[in-house]
């Protein structure tokens, strides 16, 4: 092949890498029984593709070619090392013996991706390691990208991933989709990881911007992958909730990067495509009658999405959904959101009484949004001194720049 013909092949290899590398990795982990070996094999396979495809042409089934090449390279490497260590030799022969190319079919490969997700989100791993490992192995983000997204030093994050992999190997965390009996519990852990990634993207806990689109985008991709592999109602509910929240992203910040509250947003900027997809998923999840907290949160987001303007919002329905959510998954944050909805339906003093009760229990004393919600209700009731005190408390607690600017603006308005 001439040099000018090699370039398109290189582009083709890049495209195959983007589309297939996670699938190939997931299968290699099953065949080789080890994350690090599989990653090494994956890179060896793509290196071989770069050498051989320009010369021999692109194989008919690139994925199967990559799996078999990666596996071969790994066994080869183990046999070479086996001259020095008997253990490695046994392991290499075990892999050769145990495996049957017939099991590399598409069904098994689908299962491999699901196996990878459930392994990365295993509840025996620390939650922050579950998140990091999922982004690294399932989404293919680099350690540096994950570290940047979570404002963590790359060595710290790398160590978190290494420790998680060691625990998977040494504690005997199996590479499998959980049995039907364990599935609900284990799915919860997977959904929580996706939700954590999304939440960090939807409302960055610190830093210069309100949202981090890269993370919410990854969470949505994960959500789509999950319902493609495992169409459980709560997985649909979570994806619906993420799409409906994400649909407002552009409208949530001004061109200068300032926060715009729901009631003040330009609703023509909301993404219709995401809303339509989200609403359809909520319907499907609700009609299953096996839904849970994520579907209920999606249903609440759907009420907002369906309102043509802020005044048209059906606050009674939202309060009703929060009542159900509070019974299904009680938490102080759900209580706070319900209180805000009650304030919209029945007036600020009704909401304020509920927020004060929550704060009196001490549950959300350090949660900046509880104080800013309280401040807003006091402001609307004309209780300026109380409003100021609560805005100041919120300001002291927030770690995000746009929120800080928003609270400072509100405080300045109260000084006049």
């Amino acid at each position: 092949m001439r040099a000018d013909e090699a370039e398109p092949v290189r582009e083709m290899v890049d495209a195959v890498y983007r589309a297939e590398s996670r699938r190939v990795l997931a299968t290699l982990i099953r065949l080789l029984g080890d994350f690090d070996l599989a990653e090494e094999a994956l890179h060896d396979a793509f290196r071989a593709a770069l050498e051989q495809w320009p010369r021999d042409g692109v194989p008919a089934n690139p994925r199967a070619w990559l799996v078999s090449t990666g596996r071969f390279k790994a066994i080869d490497g183990m046999r070479r090392r086996a001259r020095f260590e008997t253990l490695d030799k046994d392991a290499a022969e075990m892999i050769v013996a145990s495996d049957d190319p017939a099991t590399w079919g598409s069904e098994d490969i689908q299962d491999d991706r699901l196996r990878l997700i459930f392994t990365c989100c295993h509840p025996a791993l620390p939650p922050d390691a579950q998140v990091a490992l999922t982004l690294r192995e399932v989404c293919g983000l680099t350690t540096e990208e994950i570290a940047r997204a979570f404002i963590t030093a790359p060595p710290t994050l790398a160590q978190r991933i290494v420790r998680a992999k060691v625990k998977i190997r040494d504690a005997g965390i199996p590479y499998e989709v959980p049995s039907q009996a364990d599935l609900p519990d284990r799915l919860e852990s997977v959904l929580r990881v996706i939700y954590l990634v999304f939440n960090e993207g939807y409302s960055a806990s610190s830093g210069a911007s309100v949202t981090r689109h890269d993370l919410s985008g990854e969470a949505i991709r994960l959500g789509r992958l999950l319902i493609e592999l495992l169409p459980e109602p709560e997985a649909m509910g979570l994806l619906a909730m993420m799409l409906l929240q994400e649909s407002r992203r552009v409208a949530r910040t001004s061109p200068a990067g300032d926060l715009i509250l729901l009631g003040d947003q330009d609703r023509s900027l909301w993404s219709r495509d995401q809303i339509i997809e989200g609403l359809a998923l909520v319907e499907r999840a609700l009609s299953s009658r096996r839904f849970g907290p994520y579907t209920l949160q999606a249903a609440i987001a759907a009420v907002h999405a369906e309102a043509t303007d802020a005044a048209a919002t059906d606050w009674s329905q939202i309060v009703g959904l929060y009542d159900v959510l509070e019974r299904a998954a009680p938490s102080p944050v759900v209580g706070l959101n319900r209180a805000v909805a009650v304030a919209m339906r029945d007036g600020p003093s009704a909401g304020l009484a509920l927020i004060d009760a929550i704060l009196a229990r001490g549950d959300l004393a350090d949660y900046h949004l509880a104080h800013s919600a309280r401040a807003d209700l006091c402001r609307r009731l004309g209780r300026r001194a109380e409003a100021r005190a609560s805005y100041e408390r919120a300001l002291a607690l927030t770690r995000q720049e746009p929120e800080r600017r928003f609270l400072e603006r509100r405080l300045a308005e109260l000084q006049i």
Binding site: A171, P174, E176, A181, D182
Partner: protein, 131 residues
């Protein structure tokens, strides 16, 4: 794989149970141990006497000091250990989640460490010294 399951209990909670409650609990635990035994999962197990009968040895300032009481003065105390044979961690979790003892206190599941390599290296070192 072999897993050691450490069973924790709160002795206070134990004391406040009525005799019939306690007996019912013990019977359920033993019955489940028998199920584990029958299926080849119960390698071994021992119950421990209470923490008041514990003695802790510590190496301090170049010598061993002996103190009365358990290693950690916490509400929950190690009550017994069970050596479990399971396929992998998910299997171990499944088996121990069904153990009635989990309702009486927490279980910690730890894989055993394979010391074969360490033992071999150590005996080689010791052999070379004695030569």
């Amino acid at each position: 794989m072999k897993y050691i399951c450490l069973g924790y209990i709160d002795p206070k909670k134990w004391e406040t149970m009525s005799e019939s409650e306690r007996n019912a609990f013990i019977d359920e635990c033993f019955a489940y141990d028998d199920v584990l035994r029958k299926n080849g999962h119960f390698v071994d197990g021992e119950a421990l006497q209470g923490p008041q009968n514990a003695t802790t040895l510590r190496f301090r300032n170049g010598k061993v000091s002996v103190t009365d009481g358990p290693y950690a003065e916490t509400k929950e105390q190690l009550g017994g250990i069970l050596i479990l044979e399971a396929k992998d961690l998910n299997h171990a979790i499944q088996l121990m989640s069904k153990h009635p003892g989990v309702r009486g206190g927490d279980f910690e599941i730890r894989p055993t460490e394979d010391l074969t390599q360490l033992v071999r290296e150590s005996s080689e070192r010791r052999r070379s010294i004695s030569k």
